[in-house]
């Protein structure tokens, strides 16, 4: 263990009782895991605790928890980067967020998230959500459920591009240049077109794909989307 005070060790595995659902906590705050353990006592066991997404993936592989309770920002990036691997490993993930922006949560649910809970909720409410998700349920605030149903009715498929996301060949070229992190100017030089043209393409492509910034495009591309 490092001697540095207040630095959360990479991960901890706890002694656990058999036959109780196993919970792994990945959160930057160290009181989250013991706090949850206090109220879950006898109903579930917190078997692992870490502040890092990479360590959470290791714990998930080692301990096969029923549910990973995750914070949004981890010691090595946002939960978004680790969610796909956790889901692939067969673990359900419950996200704890200070706020629950609808579009963002719904996007994450499309990528395999099993639930989201606000940190404005009571400890016992969060504990109940942990048990629900551990038992195979999906826990979402009612307001978001309405949004998801609306989207589902209109033919939305989580994790896929929007129906209007047909890109022209030129737009695709611009998209690829942007995904490499090139500036508009550099992309224009690369493609042999005017800067203004690239800007126009960029605006249209971002609108079609529902992107907010080029930084987002770069990270989404790196995550294989």
């Amino acid at each position: 263990m490092r001697a540095t005070p207040y630095r959360k060790p990479a991960m901890r595995a706890h002694v656990y009782e058999r036959d109780l659902p196993k919970v792994v906590v990945v959160h930057e705050h160290r009181f989250v895991a013991p706090g949850l353990q206090e109220v879950l006592a006898g109903r579930a066991h917190v078997v692992g605790d870490t502040a890092y997404g990479a360590a959470a993936l290791q714990l998930t592989g080692m301990l096969t928890p029923s549910v990973v309770v995750a914070g949004e920002l981890l010691g090595d990036g946002a939960i978004d980067y680790f969610l796909p691997d956790m889901v692939r490993a067969g673990t359900r993930v419950l996200l704890l967020m200070d706020e629950l922006p609808g579009e963002r949560v719904i996007g994450l649910v499309g990528r395999g998230l099993s639930g989201a809970c606000s940190t404005g909720n009571a400890l016992v409410e969060v504990a109940d959500a942990v048990l629900d998700v551990a038992g195979g349920g999906v826990v979402l605030p009612p307001t978001l459920v309405a949004g998801i149903v609306t989207q589902w009715r209109s033919g939305w498929r989580g994790g896929q591009e929007r129906p209007d996301a047909k890109l022209t060949l030129r737009e695709m070229e611009v998209l690829n240049a942007m995904a490499d992190g090139l500036s508009t100017k550099a992309a224009a030089r690369l493609l042999g077109v005017a800067v203004k043209t690239v800007e126009n393409h960029k605006t249209r492509v971002f609108a079609k794909l529902g992107l907010h910034s080029q930084a987002q495009l770069v990270s989404e591309r790196a995550r294989g989307r």
């Binding site: 490092r2 206090e38 691997d85 404005g120 907010h212 930084a215």
Partner: protein, 205 residues
């Protein structure tokens, strides 16, 4: 009596539950969500210890501390902070919000033999390259498509603070734009699962 002041209920109750478990002979009261609630509680109870938020709160922390000390001169206060610039004032011991409950309990009740409730720990290659934890948070949010103003709200920073953070990130990663910074960070393994793996782990007992 000890009271935890924290606006978010889940954090408030988790912290309260942890401290109740850790502390011996100190009553841990129900938490307070705001400065007003804390002051009200202090008026009715023999408060000896308080754990308060010391950054990004909509009230004046030094004024709160002064009021509490007027009620209870010997009151010991611990201020928790996330940002790089917590409100520091006399009579408050500042502790990062990611401190372990045992560490906070140790400050309140020094010397007692407090076994950590865990059986296995492992260390990581926690050197996240050139970026500070806060800079990494800013970059992670930017990479999810949040703009500067969103990042500021979420991390309890000023927009100027985010801009300054961005400038530092760009310099450290040799980037000229947000997108380039994200691309470089991903390539260096600073964001996401490609980051350096754990370098050491103890076997299960």
């Amino acid at each position: 009596m000890l009271v935890v002041q924290e606006r978010l209920r889940f954090y408030r109750e988790s912290m309260t539950a942890c401290l109740r478990r850790q502390l011996d002979g100190i009553e841990v009261g129900p938490g307070a969500s705001s400065a007003a609630e804390l002051v009200e509680m202090a008026g009715r109870n023999p408060l000896t210890h308080g754990v308060i938020e010391a950054d990004a709160v909509p009230w004046d922390v030094p004024a709160l501390v002064a009021t509490l000390h007027r009620h209870h001169p010997g009151l010991q206060l611990i201020g928790l902070f996330t940002s790089t610039r917590p409100v520091s004032c006399d009579g408050v011991v500042l502790v990062p919000r990611n401190a372990a409950p045992e560490q906070i309990a140790q400050l309140i009740q020094p010397g007692s033999d407090r076994p950590a409730p865990f059986v296995l720990t492992a260390t990581t290659n926690s050197d996240r390259g050139p970026l500070t934890a806060q800079q990494l948070r800013v970059l992670a949010l930017l990479s999810l498509g949040f703009n500067g103003a969103d990042v500021a709200t979420r991390l309890g920073l000023s927009e100027r603070g985010v801009t300054k953070s961005k400038t530092a990130i760009f310099a450290k990663l040799g980037a000229q734009s947000q997108a380039q910074a994200v691309a470089n960070a991903l390539a260096a393994g600073l964001l996401g699962p490609s980051s350096p793996p754990l370098n050491e782990s103890d076997p299960l007992p």
